[in-house]
Symmetry: C2
Subunit: 307 residues, 2 copies
Protein backbone atom coordinates (compact mmCIF):
# COMPACT_ATOMS: atom_id res chain seq x y z
CA UNK A 1 0.00 0.00 0.00
CA UNK A 2 2.96 2.34 0.57
CA UNK A 3 3.69 1.95 -3.18
CA UNK A 4 0.19 3.22 -3.98
CA UNK A 5 0.55 6.13 -1.59
CA UNK A 6 3.89 7.12 -3.12
CA UNK A 7 2.46 6.81 -6.65
CA UNK A 8 -0.41 9.10 -5.68
CA UNK A 9 1.98 11.60 -4.08
CA UNK A 10 4.20 11.65 -7.18
CA UNK A 11 1.36 11.90 -9.70
CA UNK A 12 -0.15 14.84 -7.87
CA UNK A 13 3.18 16.33 -6.83
CA UNK A 14 1.65 16.82 -3.40
CA UNK A 15 3.25 15.30 -0.29
CA UNK A 16 0.20 16.19 1.77
CA UNK A 17 -2.84 14.62 3.35
CA UNK A 18 -6.08 16.29 4.35
CA UNK A 19 -7.25 15.47 7.86
CA UNK A 20 -10.99 14.95 7.85
CA UNK A 21 -11.57 15.79 11.52
CA UNK A 22 -14.98 17.44 11.43
CA UNK A 23 -15.97 19.44 14.51
CA UNK A 24 -19.60 20.55 14.53
CA UNK A 25 -18.53 24.18 14.68
CA UNK A 26 -16.59 23.81 11.43
CA UNK A 27 -19.68 22.69 9.54
CA UNK A 28 -21.47 25.56 7.81
CA UNK A 29 -24.81 26.36 9.35
CA UNK A 30 -26.80 25.68 6.18
CA UNK A 31 -25.53 22.09 6.13
CA UNK A 32 -26.39 21.58 9.79
CA UNK A 33 -29.80 23.10 9.26
CA UNK A 34 -30.65 20.84 6.35
CA UNK A 35 -29.48 17.75 8.22
CA UNK A 36 -31.44 18.69 11.34
CA UNK A 37 -34.54 19.36 9.25
CA UNK A 38 -34.28 15.83 7.90
CA UNK A 39 -33.33 13.95 11.10
CA UNK A 40 -33.86 16.43 13.93
CA UNK A 41 -31.15 17.46 16.37
CA UNK A 42 -30.08 13.85 16.83
CA UNK A 43 -26.94 11.77 16.46
CA UNK A 44 -28.22 10.80 13.03
CA UNK A 45 -28.67 14.46 12.15
CA UNK A 46 -25.12 15.25 13.24
CA UNK A 47 -23.77 12.30 11.27
CA UNK A 48 -25.65 13.44 8.17
CA UNK A 49 -24.17 16.94 8.49
CA UNK A 50 -20.66 15.50 8.87
CA UNK A 51 -21.07 13.30 5.83
CA UNK A 52 -22.38 16.11 3.61
CA UNK A 53 -19.58 18.40 4.80
CA UNK A 54 -16.90 15.74 4.14
CA UNK A 55 -18.29 14.87 0.73
CA UNK A 56 -18.11 18.53 -0.27
CA UNK A 57 -14.45 18.71 0.75
CA UNK A 58 -13.53 15.45 -0.98
CA UNK A 59 -15.32 16.48 -4.18
CA UNK A 60 -13.50 19.82 -4.20
CA UNK A 61 -10.00 18.49 -3.50
CA UNK A 62 -9.64 14.86 -4.59
CA UNK A 63 -7.90 15.68 -7.87
CA UNK A 64 -5.18 17.61 -6.02
CA UNK A 65 -4.40 15.33 -3.08
CA UNK A 66 -3.08 11.78 -2.67
CA UNK A 67 -4.81 10.88 0.58
CA UNK A 68 -7.18 11.78 3.38
CA UNK A 69 -6.83 11.06 7.09
CA UNK A 70 -10.16 10.87 8.88
CA UNK A 71 -9.71 11.10 12.67
CA UNK A 72 -12.09 8.46 14.00
CA UNK A 73 -12.56 10.14 17.40
CA UNK A 74 -14.45 12.97 15.74
CA UNK A 75 -16.97 10.41 14.45
CA UNK A 76 -16.91 8.03 17.43
CA UNK A 77 -18.09 10.84 19.69
CA UNK A 78 -21.44 10.61 17.88
CA UNK A 79 -21.69 6.90 18.65
CA UNK A 80 -22.88 4.38 16.07
CA UNK A 81 -24.28 7.06 13.76
CA UNK A 82 -20.97 8.90 13.77
CA UNK A 83 -19.11 5.71 12.92
CA UNK A 84 -21.45 5.07 10.02
CA UNK A 85 -20.43 8.52 8.71
CA UNK A 86 -16.76 7.55 9.22
CA UNK A 87 -17.22 4.36 7.23
CA UNK A 88 -19.09 6.17 4.46
CA UNK A 89 -16.38 8.85 4.30
CA UNK A 90 -13.62 6.24 3.99
CA UNK A 91 -15.49 4.37 1.26
CA UNK A 92 -16.25 7.53 -0.70
CA UNK A 93 -12.66 8.75 -0.53
CA UNK A 94 -11.47 5.40 -1.88
CA UNK A 95 -14.01 5.61 -4.70
CA UNK A 96 -12.38 8.92 -5.62
CA UNK A 97 -8.96 7.26 -5.83
CA UNK A 98 -7.67 8.57 -2.52
CA UNK A 99 -5.60 6.56 -0.06
CA UNK A 100 -7.38 6.49 3.31
CA UNK A 101 -5.32 6.77 6.48
CA UNK A 102 -7.59 5.95 9.42
CA UNK A 103 -6.27 7.98 12.34
CA UNK A 104 -7.39 5.51 14.99
CA UNK A 105 -4.32 5.29 17.27
CA UNK A 106 -5.34 1.81 18.38
CA UNK A 107 -3.01 -0.55 20.17
CA UNK A 108 -3.59 -3.55 22.39
CA UNK A 109 -2.03 -7.01 22.64
CA UNK A 110 -2.18 -10.29 20.78
CA UNK A 111 -5.62 -11.34 19.61
CA UNK A 112 -7.01 -7.95 20.60
CA UNK A 113 -4.61 -6.05 18.34
CA UNK A 114 -5.39 -8.60 15.65
CA UNK A 115 -9.07 -7.76 16.04
CA UNK A 116 -8.38 -4.04 15.51
CA UNK A 117 -6.15 -4.81 12.52
CA UNK A 118 -8.73 -7.11 10.99
CA UNK A 119 -11.55 -4.64 11.58
CA UNK A 120 -9.76 -1.66 10.07
CA UNK A 121 -7.38 -3.13 7.48
CA UNK A 122 -8.39 -6.73 6.87
CA UNK A 123 -11.35 -9.04 6.80
CA UNK A 124 -13.09 -10.75 9.67
CA UNK A 125 -14.34 -14.32 9.30
CA UNK A 126 -18.01 -15.02 9.83
CA UNK A 127 -18.74 -18.72 9.36
CA UNK A 128 -17.54 -19.56 5.84
CA UNK A 129 -17.41 -15.92 4.73
CA UNK A 130 -15.19 -12.89 5.34
CA UNK A 131 -16.08 -9.21 5.57
CA UNK A 132 -14.34 -5.85 5.84
CA UNK A 133 -15.43 -3.78 8.80
CA UNK A 134 -14.02 -0.34 7.99
CA UNK A 135 -11.45 -1.10 5.27
CA UNK A 136 -9.00 1.77 5.55
CA UNK A 137 -5.66 1.57 3.66
CA UNK A 138 -3.46 2.63 6.57
CA UNK A 139 -4.13 3.15 10.27
CA UNK A 140 -2.15 4.85 13.02
CA UNK A 141 -0.97 2.61 15.89
CA UNK A 142 0.13 3.35 19.47
CA UNK A 143 3.34 1.50 20.43
CA UNK A 144 3.20 1.71 24.27
CA UNK A 145 2.45 -2.02 24.61
CA UNK A 146 5.49 -3.07 22.58
CA UNK A 147 5.93 -5.63 19.82
CA UNK A 148 2.97 -7.75 21.04
CA UNK A 149 0.78 -4.78 20.25
CA UNK A 150 2.19 -3.80 16.86
CA UNK A 151 3.12 -7.15 15.31
CA UNK A 152 -0.51 -8.27 14.76
CA UNK A 153 -1.06 -5.12 12.67
CA UNK A 154 2.08 -5.87 10.66
CA UNK A 155 0.86 -9.42 10.01
CA UNK A 156 -2.45 -8.16 8.66
CA UNK A 157 -0.60 -5.55 6.55
CA UNK A 158 1.42 -8.34 4.97
CA UNK A 159 -1.65 -10.43 4.18
CA UNK A 160 -3.75 -7.58 2.87
CA UNK A 161 -1.15 -5.21 1.41
CA UNK A 162 -2.06 -2.46 3.83
CA UNK A 163 0.06 -0.20 6.02
CA UNK A 164 0.38 1.46 9.42
CA UNK A 165 1.93 4.59 10.90
CA UNK A 166 3.29 4.01 14.40
CA UNK A 167 3.36 6.95 16.84
CA UNK A 168 6.98 7.84 17.51
CA UNK A 169 7.02 11.53 18.48
CA UNK A 170 3.64 13.25 18.62
CA UNK A 171 3.07 16.92 17.87
CA UNK A 172 1.49 18.00 21.19
CA UNK A 173 3.18 20.16 23.84
CA UNK A 174 3.30 17.43 26.52
CA UNK A 175 4.47 14.68 24.15
CA UNK A 176 7.87 14.88 25.82
CA UNK A 177 6.58 13.80 29.23
CA UNK A 178 7.27 10.17 28.38
CA UNK A 179 8.47 10.15 24.76
CA UNK A 180 11.53 12.34 25.42
CA UNK A 181 12.71 10.59 28.56
CA UNK A 182 16.34 9.58 28.27
CA UNK A 183 17.12 5.88 28.29
CA UNK A 184 20.86 5.28 28.39
CA UNK A 185 21.30 8.82 27.16
CA UNK A 186 18.84 8.53 24.29
CA UNK A 187 15.22 9.67 24.14
CA UNK A 188 12.59 6.96 24.30
CA UNK A 189 11.20 7.98 20.91
CA UNK A 190 14.47 6.91 19.29
CA UNK A 191 14.05 3.45 20.79
CA UNK A 192 10.54 3.34 19.40
CA UNK A 193 11.96 4.46 16.03
CA UNK A 194 14.42 1.57 16.04
CA UNK A 195 11.58 -0.86 16.67
CA UNK A 196 9.62 0.75 13.83
CA UNK A 197 12.53 -0.04 11.51
CA UNK A 198 12.63 -3.62 12.79
CA UNK A 199 8.87 -4.10 12.31
CA UNK A 200 9.07 -2.36 8.96
CA UNK A 201 11.79 -4.60 7.55
CA UNK A 202 9.25 -7.40 7.59
CA UNK A 203 6.82 -5.56 5.40
CA UNK A 204 8.65 -3.63 2.70
CA UNK A 205 7.18 -1.99 -0.39
CA UNK A 206 9.48 -1.24 -3.33
CA UNK A 207 11.55 1.49 -1.70
CA UNK A 208 9.76 2.30 1.55
CA UNK A 209 8.16 0.12 4.20
CA UNK A 210 4.45 -0.38 4.76
CA UNK A 211 5.23 0.39 8.39
CA UNK A 212 5.51 4.16 8.63
CA UNK A 213 5.65 6.41 11.65
CA UNK A 214 4.23 9.64 13.05
CA UNK A 215 6.56 12.52 13.93
CA UNK A 216 5.05 15.92 14.71
CA UNK A 217 5.94 18.98 12.62
CA UNK A 218 6.35 20.87 15.87
CA UNK A 219 9.65 19.14 16.70
CA UNK A 220 11.81 19.70 13.59
CA UNK A 221 15.16 19.01 15.27
CA UNK A 222 13.89 15.63 16.39
CA UNK A 223 12.41 15.05 12.94
CA UNK A 224 15.85 15.54 11.41
CA UNK A 225 17.40 12.88 13.65
CA UNK A 226 14.49 10.48 13.21
CA UNK A 227 14.63 10.86 9.41
CA UNK A 228 18.19 9.51 9.47
CA UNK A 229 17.39 6.75 11.96
CA UNK A 230 14.58 5.41 9.76
CA UNK A 231 15.68 5.90 6.13
CA UNK A 232 13.01 3.61 4.63
CA UNK A 233 10.18 4.67 6.89
CA UNK A 234 7.52 7.04 5.60
CA UNK A 235 6.82 9.80 8.11
CA UNK A 236 3.28 11.04 8.60
CA UNK A 237 3.67 14.59 9.89
CA UNK A 238 0.86 16.19 11.89
CA UNK A 239 1.10 19.66 13.36
CA UNK A 240 1.55 21.77 10.21
CA UNK A 241 -0.43 25.01 10.16
CA UNK A 242 -2.88 25.34 13.02
CA UNK A 243 -0.54 23.61 15.50
CA UNK A 244 2.39 25.82 14.52
CA UNK A 245 4.57 23.70 12.19
CA UNK A 246 6.03 25.66 9.24
CA UNK A 247 7.01 24.39 5.78
CA UNK A 248 10.65 25.40 6.25
CA UNK A 249 10.76 23.16 9.34
CA UNK A 250 9.59 20.18 7.34
CA UNK A 251 12.41 19.96 4.82
CA UNK A 252 14.39 17.55 6.97
CA UNK A 253 11.49 15.12 7.24
CA UNK A 254 12.08 14.30 3.57
CA UNK A 255 14.79 12.14 2.05
CA UNK A 256 16.99 13.23 -0.83
CA UNK A 257 14.69 11.39 -3.24
CA UNK A 258 12.06 14.00 -2.36
CA UNK A 259 9.98 11.29 -0.71
CA UNK A 260 9.67 9.92 2.81
CA UNK A 261 7.16 12.31 4.36
CA UNK A 262 3.52 13.22 4.03
CA UNK A 263 2.32 16.33 5.82
CA UNK A 264 -1.16 16.50 7.33
CA UNK A 265 -3.35 19.51 7.71
CA UNK A 266 -6.83 19.22 9.17
CA UNK A 267 -8.41 22.43 10.45
CA UNK A 268 -6.27 24.55 8.12
CA UNK A 269 -7.91 22.90 5.13
CA UNK A 270 -11.37 21.74 6.16
CA UNK A 271 -12.25 24.91 8.05
CA UNK A 272 -10.30 27.23 5.72
CA UNK A 273 -13.38 29.38 5.10
CA UNK A 274 -13.24 30.42 8.76
CA UNK A 275 -9.80 31.98 8.33
CA UNK A 276 -9.51 35.63 7.40
CA UNK A 277 -7.41 34.65 4.40
CA UNK A 278 -10.23 32.63 2.84
CA UNK A 279 -13.22 34.42 4.38
CA UNK A 280 -14.25 35.91 1.02
CA UNK A 281 -15.36 32.42 -0.12
CA UNK A 282 -18.16 32.53 2.45
CA UNK A 283 -19.60 29.51 4.22
CA UNK A 284 -21.66 28.43 1.17
CA UNK A 285 -18.40 27.96 -0.73
CA UNK A 286 -16.51 26.33 2.15
CA UNK A 287 -15.31 23.53 -0.15
CA UNK A 288 -13.81 25.98 -2.64
CA UNK A 289 -12.00 27.62 0.26
CA UNK A 290 -10.65 24.18 1.20
CA UNK A 291 -9.49 23.68 -2.39
CA UNK A 292 -7.64 27.00 -2.36
CA UNK A 293 -6.07 26.12 1.01
CA UNK A 294 -4.87 22.83 -0.49
CA UNK A 295 -3.34 24.66 -3.48
CA UNK A 296 -1.59 27.06 -1.10
CA UNK A 297 -0.35 24.29 1.19
CA UNK A 298 1.11 22.31 -1.70
CA UNK A 299 2.85 25.45 -3.01
CA UNK A 300 4.14 26.26 0.48
CA UNK A 301 5.62 22.81 1.04
CA UNK A 302 6.95 22.31 -2.49
CA UNK A 303 8.41 25.81 -2.26
CA UNK A 304 10.29 24.94 0.91
CA UNK A 305 11.49 21.75 -0.77
CA UNK A 306 12.72 23.85 -3.71
CA UNK A 307 10.58 22.22 -6.38
CA UNK B 1 -18.00 6.46 39.79
CA UNK B 2 -15.16 4.84 41.74
CA UNK B 3 -17.44 5.03 44.80
CA UNK B 4 -20.08 3.00 42.97
CA UNK B 5 -17.52 0.45 41.83
CA UNK B 6 -16.21 0.05 45.39
CA UNK B 7 -19.76 -0.26 46.76
CA UNK B 8 -20.48 -3.00 44.21
CA UNK B 9 -17.24 -4.81 45.06
CA UNK B 10 -17.99 -4.68 48.79
CA UNK B 11 -21.63 -5.72 48.52
CA UNK B 12 -20.73 -8.72 46.41
CA UNK B 13 -17.46 -9.40 48.24
CA UNK B 14 -15.91 -9.88 44.83
CA UNK B 15 -12.92 -7.81 43.69
CA UNK B 16 -13.29 -9.12 40.16
CA UNK B 17 -14.48 -8.07 36.75
CA UNK B 18 -15.58 -10.27 33.89
CA UNK B 19 -13.99 -9.41 30.55
CA UNK B 20 -16.60 -9.66 27.81
CA UNK B 21 -14.17 -10.29 24.96
CA UNK B 22 -16.15 -12.59 22.70
CA UNK B 23 -14.19 -14.46 20.05
CA UNK B 24 -16.35 -16.28 17.52
CA UNK B 25 -14.80 -19.60 18.49
CA UNK B 26 -15.92 -19.13 22.10
CA UNK B 27 -19.55 -18.84 21.08
CA UNK B 28 -21.41 -22.17 21.24
CA UNK B 29 -22.36 -23.50 17.85
CA UNK B 30 -26.11 -23.52 18.53
CA UNK B 31 -26.02 -19.75 19.16
CA UNK B 32 -24.05 -19.10 15.98
CA UNK B 33 -26.42 -21.37 14.01
CA UNK B 34 -29.53 -19.58 15.21
CA UNK B 35 -28.03 -16.16 14.50
CA UNK B 36 -26.90 -17.20 11.01
CA UNK B 37 -30.32 -18.68 10.27
CA UNK B 38 -31.85 -15.31 11.09
CA UNK B 39 -29.31 -12.99 9.40
CA UNK B 40 -27.10 -15.25 7.29
CA UNK B 41 -23.34 -15.50 7.66
CA UNK B 42 -23.04 -11.71 7.79
CA UNK B 43 -21.64 -9.08 10.12
CA UNK B 44 -25.16 -8.69 11.47
CA UNK B 45 -25.35 -12.44 12.08
CA UNK B 46 -22.04 -12.38 13.95
CA UNK B 47 -23.17 -9.40 16.02
CA UNK B 48 -26.40 -11.17 16.91
CA UNK B 49 -24.47 -14.25 18.06
CA UNK B 50 -22.17 -12.09 20.19
CA UNK B 51 -25.07 -10.30 21.81
CA UNK B 52 -26.98 -13.52 22.64
CA UNK B 53 -23.79 -15.05 24.04
CA UNK B 54 -23.02 -11.98 26.18
CA UNK B 55 -26.58 -11.72 27.47
CA UNK B 56 -26.42 -15.34 28.60
CA UNK B 57 -23.22 -14.67 30.55
CA UNK B 58 -24.52 -11.45 32.11
CA UNK B 59 -27.82 -13.11 33.13
CA UNK B 60 -25.93 -15.99 34.74
CA UNK B 61 -23.38 -13.93 36.67
CA UNK B 62 -24.66 -10.42 37.35
CA UNK B 63 -25.70 -11.15 40.93
CA UNK B 64 -22.17 -12.30 41.78
CA UNK B 65 -20.01 -9.65 40.12
CA UNK B 66 -19.55 -5.89 40.46
CA UNK B 67 -18.56 -5.08 36.91
CA UNK B 68 -17.93 -6.20 33.35
CA UNK B 69 -15.18 -5.10 31.00
CA UNK B 70 -16.14 -5.42 27.34
CA UNK B 71 -13.07 -5.24 25.07
CA UNK B 72 -14.23 -3.01 22.22
CA UNK B 73 -11.75 -4.46 19.68
CA UNK B 74 -13.63 -7.75 19.70
CA UNK B 75 -16.74 -5.88 18.56
CA UNK B 76 -15.05 -3.28 16.34
CA UNK B 77 -13.64 -6.08 14.17
CA UNK B 78 -17.21 -6.69 13.00
CA UNK B 79 -17.58 -3.05 11.95
CA UNK B 80 -20.72 -1.08 12.66
CA UNK B 81 -22.78 -4.17 13.48
CA UNK B 82 -20.20 -5.28 16.02
CA UNK B 83 -20.22 -1.87 17.66
CA UNK B 84 -24.00 -1.99 17.92
CA UNK B 85 -23.56 -5.25 19.86
CA UNK B 86 -20.96 -3.51 22.06
CA UNK B 87 -23.35 -0.67 22.82
CA UNK B 88 -26.20 -3.06 23.54
CA UNK B 89 -23.98 -5.14 25.84
CA UNK B 90 -22.90 -2.05 27.80
CA UNK B 91 -26.48 -0.86 28.18
CA UNK B 92 -27.76 -4.27 29.26
CA UNK B 93 -24.99 -4.71 31.84
CA UNK B 94 -25.86 -1.31 33.33
CA UNK B 95 -29.54 -2.29 33.46
CA UNK B 96 -28.43 -5.27 35.55
CA UNK B 97 -26.66 -2.96 38.01
CA UNK B 98 -23.15 -3.67 36.78
CA UNK B 99 -20.41 -1.08 36.40
CA UNK B 100 -19.19 -1.07 32.79
CA UNK B 101 -15.49 -0.65 32.11
CA UNK B 102 -15.05 -0.06 28.38
CA UNK B 103 -11.66 -1.50 27.49
CA UNK B 104 -11.00 0.90 24.65
CA UNK B 105 -7.36 1.95 25.25
CA UNK B 106 -7.96 5.22 23.45
CA UNK B 107 -5.59 8.16 23.69
CA UNK B 108 -5.00 11.16 21.48
CA UNK B 109 -4.49 14.88 22.12
CA UNK B 110 -6.59 17.89 22.98
CA UNK B 111 -9.94 18.09 21.25
CA UNK B 112 -9.46 14.59 19.86
CA UNK B 113 -9.10 13.04 23.32
CA UNK B 114 -12.08 15.13 24.38
CA UNK B 115 -14.06 13.58 21.53
CA UNK B 116 -13.23 10.06 22.73
CA UNK B 117 -14.06 11.00 26.32
CA UNK B 118 -17.34 12.58 25.32
CA UNK B 119 -18.29 9.64 23.10
CA UNK B 120 -17.57 6.99 25.70
CA UNK B 121 -18.15 8.67 29.06
CA UNK B 122 -20.01 11.91 28.43
CA UNK B 123 -22.50 13.54 26.16
CA UNK B 124 -21.93 15.12 22.76
CA UNK B 125 -23.75 18.31 21.82
CA UNK B 126 -25.96 18.28 18.75
CA UNK B 127 -27.53 21.69 18.23
CA UNK B 128 -29.44 22.43 21.43
CA UNK B 129 -29.41 18.82 22.63
CA UNK B 130 -26.86 16.39 24.06
CA UNK B 131 -26.54 12.63 23.59
CA UNK B 132 -24.51 9.75 24.94
CA UNK B 133 -22.69 7.76 22.30
CA UNK B 134 -21.63 4.63 24.19
CA UNK B 135 -22.03 5.65 27.83
CA UNK B 136 -19.61 3.37 29.66
CA UNK B 137 -18.80 4.08 33.35
CA UNK B 138 -15.04 3.77 33.01
CA UNK B 139 -12.71 3.46 30.03
CA UNK B 140 -9.07 2.46 29.71
CA UNK B 141 -6.69 5.13 28.39
CA UNK B 142 -3.22 4.94 26.78
CA UNK B 143 -0.77 7.50 28.26
CA UNK B 144 1.92 7.60 25.54
CA UNK B 145 0.91 11.11 24.43
CA UNK B 146 1.26 12.59 27.93
CA UNK B 147 -0.96 14.93 29.92
CA UNK B 148 -2.48 16.49 26.77
CA UNK B 149 -3.91 13.08 25.98
CA UNK B 150 -5.20 12.12 29.43
CA UNK B 151 -6.38 15.43 30.87
CA UNK B 152 -9.42 15.72 28.53
CA UNK B 153 -10.63 12.36 29.86
CA UNK B 154 -10.16 13.56 33.44
CA UNK B 155 -12.16 16.70 32.69
CA UNK B 156 -15.07 14.68 31.36
CA UNK B 157 -14.82 12.33 34.36
CA UNK B 158 -15.19 15.33 36.67
CA UNK B 159 -18.22 16.65 34.82
CA UNK B 160 -19.98 13.34 34.44
CA UNK B 161 -18.81 11.44 37.55
CA UNK B 162 -17.12 8.78 35.47
CA UNK B 163 -13.67 7.20 35.68
CA UNK B 164 -10.66 5.95 33.71
CA UNK B 165 -7.95 3.35 34.09
CA UNK B 166 -4.64 4.50 32.60
CA UNK B 167 -2.24 1.87 31.23
CA UNK B 168 0.84 1.78 33.46
CA UNK B 169 2.32 -1.70 33.14
CA UNK B 170 0.52 -4.06 30.78
CA UNK B 171 0.36 -7.83 31.19
CA UNK B 172 1.90 -8.92 27.89
CA UNK B 173 5.38 -10.44 27.45
CA UNK B 174 6.82 -7.52 25.45
CA UNK B 175 5.34 -4.80 27.68
CA UNK B 176 8.84 -4.16 29.00
CA UNK B 177 10.21 -3.05 25.63
CA UNK B 178 9.31 0.54 26.39
CA UNK B 179 7.50 0.50 29.74
CA UNK B 180 10.45 -0.96 31.70
CA UNK B 181 13.16 1.26 30.22
CA UNK B 182 15.13 2.97 32.96
CA UNK B 183 14.90 6.74 33.17
CA UNK B 184 17.34 8.10 35.74
CA UNK B 185 17.47 4.63 37.21
CA UNK B 186 13.70 4.15 37.41
CA UNK B 187 11.43 2.28 35.00
CA UNK B 188 9.25 4.41 32.75
CA UNK B 189 6.08 2.82 34.16
CA UNK B 190 6.88 4.40 37.54
CA UNK B 191 6.98 7.83 35.91
CA UNK B 192 3.63 7.08 34.32
CA UNK B 193 2.37 5.99 37.76
CA UNK B 194 3.41 9.31 39.27
CA UNK B 195 1.49 11.15 36.57
CA UNK B 196 -1.52 8.94 37.27
CA UNK B 197 -1.42 10.08 40.89
CA UNK B 198 -1.17 13.71 39.77
CA UNK B 199 -4.10 13.37 37.35
CA UNK B 200 -6.02 11.41 39.96
CA UNK B 201 -5.69 14.03 42.67
CA UNK B 202 -7.93 16.24 40.56
CA UNK B 203 -10.72 13.75 40.49
CA UNK B 204 -11.07 12.02 43.84
CA UNK B 205 -13.92 9.85 45.05
CA UNK B 206 -14.36 9.31 48.81
CA UNK B 207 -11.26 7.22 49.39
CA UNK B 208 -9.94 6.36 45.95
CA UNK B 209 -9.54 8.39 42.79
CA UNK B 210 -11.71 8.16 39.69
CA UNK B 211 -8.41 7.90 37.82
CA UNK B 212 -7.28 4.30 38.19
CA UNK B 213 -4.56 2.40 36.41
CA UNK B 214 -3.83 -0.91 34.70
CA UNK B 215 -1.07 -3.17 36.03
CA UNK B 216 -0.81 -6.73 34.71
CA UNK B 217 -1.10 -9.71 37.06
CA UNK B 218 1.91 -11.19 35.29
CA UNK B 219 4.34 -8.75 36.94
CA UNK B 220 3.65 -9.14 40.69
CA UNK B 221 6.92 -7.61 41.88
CA UNK B 222 6.20 -4.48 39.90
CA UNK B 223 2.61 -4.54 41.14
CA UNK B 224 3.90 -4.43 44.71
CA UNK B 225 5.99 -1.32 44.06
CA UNK B 226 3.26 0.38 42.07
CA UNK B 227 0.68 -0.29 44.81
CA UNK B 228 2.83 1.75 47.21
CA UNK B 229 3.52 4.50 44.68
CA UNK B 230 -0.20 5.03 44.05
CA UNK B 231 -1.99 4.46 47.37
CA UNK B 232 -5.29 6.01 46.29
CA UNK B 233 -5.35 4.60 42.78
CA UNK B 234 -7.54 1.63 41.97
CA UNK B 235 -5.63 -0.97 39.98
CA UNK B 236 -7.37 -2.87 37.21
CA UNK B 237 -5.46 -6.13 36.92
CA UNK B 238 -5.57 -8.09 33.67
CA UNK B 239 -3.63 -11.31 33.13
CA UNK B 240 -5.19 -13.54 35.82
CA UNK B 241 -5.87 -17.11 34.70
CA UNK B 242 -5.36 -17.69 31.00
CA UNK B 243 -2.37 -15.29 30.81
CA UNK B 244 -0.70 -16.95 33.81
CA UNK B 245 -1.36 -14.63 36.78
CA UNK B 246 -2.10 -16.51 40.03
CA UNK B 247 -4.20 -15.38 43.02
CA UNK B 248 -1.25 -15.58 45.41
CA UNK B 249 0.60 -13.10 43.16
CA UNK B 250 -2.22 -10.61 43.43
CA UNK B 251 -2.22 -10.04 47.16
CA UNK B 252 0.15 -7.09 46.91
CA UNK B 253 -2.07 -5.29 44.41
CA UNK B 254 -4.50 -4.68 47.29
CA UNK B 255 -4.24 -2.17 50.11
CA UNK B 256 -4.64 -3.04 53.77
CA UNK B 257 -8.27 -1.94 53.61
CA UNK B 258 -8.86 -4.93 51.33
CA UNK B 259 -9.57 -2.56 48.47
CA UNK B 260 -7.53 -0.98 45.72
CA UNK B 261 -7.59 -3.68 43.05
CA UNK B 262 -10.07 -5.35 40.73
CA UNK B 263 -8.93 -8.46 38.91
CA UNK B 264 -10.11 -9.20 35.39
CA UNK B 265 -10.69 -12.57 33.82
CA UNK B 266 -12.01 -12.86 30.27
CA UNK B 267 -11.49 -16.19 28.53
CA UNK B 268 -11.30 -18.02 31.86
CA UNK B 269 -14.88 -17.02 32.60
CA UNK B 270 -16.67 -16.51 29.32
CA UNK B 271 -15.25 -19.62 27.65
CA UNK B 272 -15.16 -21.69 30.86
CA UNK B 273 -17.20 -24.47 29.26
CA UNK B 274 -14.27 -25.13 26.93
CA UNK B 275 -11.97 -25.98 29.85
CA UNK B 276 -11.70 -29.58 31.02
CA UNK B 277 -12.66 -28.44 34.51
CA UNK B 278 -16.07 -27.18 33.38
CA UNK B 279 -16.58 -29.42 30.33
CA UNK B 280 -19.39 -31.37 32.01
CA UNK B 281 -21.65 -28.30 31.69
CA UNK B 282 -21.64 -28.74 27.92
CA UNK B 283 -21.94 -25.95 25.40
CA UNK B 284 -25.71 -25.60 25.92
CA UNK B 285 -25.02 -24.62 29.53
CA UNK B 286 -22.03 -22.39 28.77
CA UNK B 287 -23.44 -19.63 30.97
CA UNK B 288 -23.76 -21.92 33.99
CA UNK B 289 -20.14 -22.90 33.43
CA UNK B 290 -19.25 -19.20 33.45
CA UNK B 291 -21.16 -18.77 36.72
CA UNK B 292 -19.25 -21.64 38.32
CA UNK B 293 -15.97 -20.16 37.05
CA UNK B 294 -16.91 -16.83 38.67
CA UNK B 295 -17.67 -18.57 41.99
CA UNK B 296 -14.32 -20.34 41.81
CA UNK B 297 -12.41 -17.19 40.88
CA UNK B 298 -13.92 -15.21 43.76
CA UNK B 299 -13.06 -18.03 46.18
CA UNK B 300 -9.54 -18.25 44.77
CA UNK B 301 -8.85 -14.55 45.16
CA UNK B 302 -10.60 -14.09 48.50
CA UNK B 303 -8.75 -17.18 49.71
CA UNK B 304 -5.41 -15.67 48.78
CA UNK B 305 -6.47 -12.46 50.53
CA UNK B 306 -7.36 -14.52 53.62
CA UNK B 307 -11.03 -13.62 53.78
Amino acid sequence: MINTLIKNIQEKNAPIVVGLDPMMNYIPEYIQKEAFEEYGETLKGAAKAIWVYNKGIIDATYDLIPAVKPQIAMYEQFGIEGLIAFHKTCAYAKEKGLVVIGDIKRGDIGSTSTAYAVGHLGKVKVGSKAFSGFDEDFVTVNPYLGTDGVKPFVDVCKEENKGIFVLVKTSNPSSGEFQDKLVDGRPLYELVAEKVVEWGNECMGDTYSNVGCVVGATYPEMGKVLRKLMPKTYILVPGYGAQGGKAADLVHYFNEDGLGAIVNSSRGIIAAYKQEKYASFGSKNYADASRQAVVDMIADINGALGR
